[in-house]
Each structure stands twice: as C-alpha cells, then as structure tokens.
Symmetry: C2
Subunit: 420 residues, 2 copies
Amino acid sequence: MDTHSEHLRINPARFQANFDALSEIGATDDGGIHRPTFSEAHLAARAWFRDLIRESGLEFRVDEAGNHSAYLPCGPEDGPTLLLGSHLDSVPYGGRFDGALGVLSALEVLVVVKEAGISLPINLEAIDFTDEEGTHIGLLGSSALAGKLSHSDLEHPRGGKVAFIEGLNRAGLTKDGLLNAARHQGSLAGFVEVHIEQGMRLIDANAEIGVVTSIVGIGSSILTFIGRSDHAGTTSMEDRLDAAQGASAFILVIRDILHESFPHCVANVGKIDLMPGAFNIVPAEAILRLEYRAPEAHTLRILGQALLEGARFEANRFGLGLEVEDLGEYPPSLMHDEVRSAITNAADTLSLNHIPLTSMAGHDAQSLAGLCPVGMIFVPSVDGASHSPREFTTWENCIHGANTLLQTALRLAINIDQVG
Amino acid sequence: MDTHSEHLRINPARFQANFDALSEIGATDDGGIHRPTFSEAHLAARAWFRDLIRESGLEFRVDEAGNHSAYLPCGPEDGPTLLLGSHLDSVPYGGRFDGALGVLSALEVLVVVKEAGISLPINLEAIDFTDEEGTHIGLLGSSALAGKLSHSDLEHPRGGKVAFIEGLNRAGLTKDGLLNAARHQGSLAGFVEVHIEQGMRLIDANAEIGVVTSIVGIGSSILTFIGRSDHAGTTSMEDRLDAAQGASAFILVIRDILHESFPHCVANVGKIDLMPGAFNIVPAEAILRLEYRAPEAHTLRILGQALLEGARFEANRFGLGLEVEDLGEYPPSLMHDEVRSAITNAADTLSLNHIPLTSMAGHDAQSLAGLCPVGMIFVPSVDGASHSPREFTTWENCIHGANTLLQTALRLAINIDQVG
C-alpha cells in the first residue's frame, strides 16, 4: 500500500453535513427517527440519497430488490466490485445511527477515492439495502442480492400481506423482481459494513473499533402452555390448570439456564397472550414468543434444546401440556479472516483501540457471508442503547468508523490485486 | 303453613320441556349456548320467554332496564312482591344452565301457585335480569332495579361504547331508561335465585342443595411492571430490566400467598400484555389484569393488600417499577337469615341434603342485598364446570332446585304475613 493511500482520510465536515441532513428525514421530536420500510419517510430518505449520489458525481444504480447504490468505476471495466454499505430503513421510532451511519460511511469512502483519483484493481459500490429491519421481511434486499431469497420467505410478512404488497407498489417493486435480484457470485470482491455496536462491550473495553468475528445465530419459536379454562371465582386454586403459572415459571427459569450454562448467549420472551384473556377466566393457554441467540451453530442448537427442556419441565410441574412451533433459525455467520485482518490493520494505522467481538444482532452482512469475503466494523454505542431514540455514538467515533472503512477498503483492494 | 301448600311440587315434564326449548335458542354444536346480551339469540330467548309467560296465563312486564318479568297477582293489590329469578344472557360460548335454570324455576313456581289457586299475602314475580354476565356492564338489570346504577357505571362498557349503544338500540332501551328503572324499596318482599353452584363443593359433600350464606366480594386491578425496552440481542441478560421477569415472579407468588394465608379465597391473572410486544425487544412493560375474591369484606381488603405487597416485592427484586390501577370492588353480600332459614326448611321438607356455602361467583342477588331480604339456592355442577359447554347439572337436581324455590317462596310468603 502506497503512502498516499495510507494517509487518505474522509472529510468530517461533509460527512457530518450529510448525516445531519439524513437525520431530519423522518425525525421524531425526541431526537430519533421513524423510517419503517416503504413509509413516506423511508422513500424520502432514499430519494435524498439518490440525489446526493448524483450531486457527488457518482453513478446511481437501483436493482430489482430496490437496493439503492452509488457506483464508482475506479477499477477495470467489468472487474469485481467491493460492496460497502448498510440500510436507511429503521425500526419504528428508532435511532439516527442504526444503518444510516454505514450507508453514509460507504458513500464518503467512494467520494474520497474519487476525489483522490486513485485507480484500484476493483470497483467500489456504496449500497443501501432494502428492509433490513424487517418492517416486512427482514434482511430483504441483502438476501435478494445474495440469491438467498425464496418464494416462501415472502409468504408471511411480519406486518401482513396487504401492507407488504402496498409497500412494494409504493416503491415500484414486485415479488418477481425481488426473486430475480441475485448478483453473480464472481462479481463481488467482498462486503464491509460499518455499524453501531448496540451494546456496551466497546465502551467497557475502552475501544473505538470492534472487529466483528461472527454474527450471532438466532432461533425462535412459539411455545403454547396448555391448561384448562375455568371460572376464576368458583374453581379452587388447587383444582386449576392455569397456563400462566407454567409460562411464568418458564420465563424465570430462562435466566437460570443462560446464567449457568450459556454465558455468551441471550434469550427473550417478548410477547405473551393468555387465552381466552379475561379477568375472570383461568387462562387455558399461554402463548409465548421466544427468541434466543448464540455465537456458534453448536451452541445455538444446544441452547434451543435446553430452553425447550426447561419449558417441558415447567409445563409438567404445573400439569400443563406444551406445544412448540419452531420458527427456524438464522445460522451464525463467520466473518472472513482476510477482511478481519484488513480491519485490524486499518485500525492500527489509524491508532485506534480495537477488540474482536461477536455481533449479537443480525445484519445484512450475514446475507452475503459465504458469497464473498465479508466483514463488519463496529463503533461504540453510548449506554448500549439502540432501536430507541436514546441511540447515540459520539461524532468522533463515527469518523473513526468511516476512516476505518476507508482504510479497510483500500487494503482489501490491494490484497485482491496481490491474490489476483 | 298448611298441608296443601307443603305438598305442592313443580311439574317436571313442563319444566323440562321449557328448559329444552330454551336450550335450543343460541345453541352451539357442542351442547352449549351462545347468548351474549342483546345478541340475536339473546333477544330471541327473551321473545320466547315473553310468549311463554302469556301462554301460561301470567302477566308480562318489562321495565326500563329491559328486565323481563312474569307477574302473578296472588296477593293484595299493590301488596309487596316476592321476586324470583335470574338471567337469560350467557357468557360467550357458555352453558345451558347458568341463569336459564333460575329463570325457568321461577316461572314454574308462579305457574304452580296459579294452578293451585292459592291466595298469598304477597304477589309473585319471575324475572329475567338484563346483562348479568357483563357482555356490556354486568349485573346491569339488577343494579338498575335496585337503584344502584349510576351514570359512571355506564361509562366504560367492557365491549366498548359503540357495541353497548348499538345493543341498547336493538333492545329498545336507553341509558336514561336504565338510570330510571329503580323500584321503590317497600315494593319488594324479597328476592330468591336458584343457580348452579359452578364449583365442586356440593358434589364433594354429597349434597343436593347449597344454602348460600354470602356472595363473595371481588376486587380487581391492573398492575403494570415497568422495566426498559432494549435490543434483545445486544443487551446482556445482566443489563436488562425485563418487565416480564417481575410479572412472572408475581404470578407464581400469588399461589403461595393464597395457599399460606387465604385458604378460602381465590385470585387470577387472566390477561398479560408485554409492551412493545416483539420477539426481539426486551419487554419494557408487563400489564397484568388481576382479580381476587374473598367471602368477607375484611378478608377481601387484606387479600388485596397482600397481593399488592407481593407485586411490589417482586418488582423491586427485578429492579422494576410498579403502577397500580385499582378498578374498585364489589363488596361481599350477606344473604338474609330469614331467607336462609326458609331455604333450609324447604330442603328439609323435601328430604334433600343441604349445606351452607359461599358463592364464589357474583350474581344478581348481590345487587338486591340491602334492599330486601335476599337468598340463593345452589344445585350441584357436575365436575364444577361452568362458563363452558361442559356445564351440566343432573335433571333430578334441577327439579330439586325448583321445588326448593317453590317451598322457599311459600314459606317466605307466610313468614311475611306473620311479620306483617
């Protein structure tokens, strides 16, 4: 790597101006943003991004999955593309940094390389993936681009079929288009994403950069504890088969299972429905939405088994039945060694403290793992807050993240040249 | 009491024919009925009752609360009325016996007295009260008749305001009418209701008749455990303030509190909402609907306090806040000594095994307690099932209940004469 490239830095003023402008789109009074996929604010953010790409002298591209890109032909015509980016959609009433920071860091990298007039052995692309957060499907644009999207993935949109179809129509997209958006495997030289950590580990370790080693695997299921509905006045406490009792015991036991045997994993019951759901009727059913995460495939599997055993034990203890609907899993994704090395070297060059860590959240990068070398750069989240208006990363660390992306991209480009 | 009266019995064939005909109205495939207040089936049942009253040669009356009555002027003109009855509405997808048995027993008593041509010091009335079960308000017709209904009672119908107003319109009723339906206190000589026990105590005691001593008091509240919403992947188990944990611990501790200190009471959490309610978000709030019942006012109060203390303790233990919305209480209602004696004597005359017991369910009788001498006659529920198509009472015991009501009414009439 030549000295000139090694000293390239992003333009903090331009980067911040873009970030501040984007943060206005879908802004909420409490400092957060509300940009669910295909909402008016989301489409406005994408239109703003398109205009910015063109104003920056970059080529604007959009694919059949609605992924929006800036393209910089700094390499050979028809040469491989190093993809950088993240997403512009948000969870409902979320924060300004999640996704947006990665997209604008990627764009800034392209603009800096363009301004420097550098020729590379690869071309660069800054991408905004469609529906990462799952307003409708989750990791939608990246799965489509990676050729991992199937018809069945589109069958049960989280917000319902009507909202999904209406959203696609508003964005000028179709299901057929989504299923035809796969890129050729050889066309991608790699993918790197800057993202906020959404946890406390970087700040606890006094590090500016997290070099992601893997993205957590996620399993989920619906557990139904089955008792018997009875009159809540005339049925003695002893004669009840109260589904809420077994469900409550299970919710408490989750913590013990994680604490004792799975210290690097998490699990959550985020929703409970008691049926029939009246003050004066003993609940016949307690329906729990369970999600659990582990950094390795093996651990994910035995954690899922341990939780299920816990549920069966508590159901038995209260004389209840248990029905389990397995909703499947996202397997853990290992980040590529070459990308990890490039990130580590970049951070060293920039004199930034860095640590390796697992991403406990899902990201578009996992869609592309296996397709091309993939890596992620984390920056610190103050208080670990995320998916919330409280989400915050110091501006200094945002700049560190973008510069690390820039230096990582240059290193990867040169490595690819050496390998090629 | 003369020998002739003491040997009067209801007509089992007629009683059963009426019961079977009524059970067809709103019948469900599983042997239950679905007659929510002001539903088509409920209004059809009331129309059928009106026609039956007229065919039986009794006077049909309806008041501004929609209470439907058969009236037998067997006493002095403008003399006091002994009210007998229950209700024809049902919980959604409930059983055939709850309410219906009490109304038809009351009607049968009037027909038997009319056929016997007996003159009494009082007049008799068999009443079907409006909305006992609370499709909209609960104990609506009986509260209105007792003058205990206030404007605020009509402000928060359980099924929503629109459904309530539409229902009133369908039944030709108005809110103003409901608030003007109170009877003069001196006009009522008493109220007696036959009802299924809805529990297992009569069968466990091998008794045919339960002489109700009091109707349980009911308290209810909404408890909100307050934690913090966080990303369910990136927030470590230790860093969470998971509202579902405290709520679950409280649900389990309810059983202990009842078992250790309140053996004759019950409590139920029939509904839980976790907010925001997603697989991947740590619940910030757990909203619990709590109901508890006790046979005496003092016990109801200290039970409510003990449950609240338990909730505060568990909230504290998990670092959560607790908000309590007290929804008020129905105080326990003591049955009148004179009516209890009359029921006991009636059961003895009929050679029926009887035991005293508390009603753990609310009934229209509690609305009238304090207004006139009130009592209730319970008959055994097979398996204790109620508010369910499984609800069942043997036909023999239904007849015992109706005959006990007949003999109780005659005894009360004569006592009133002696007192008067």
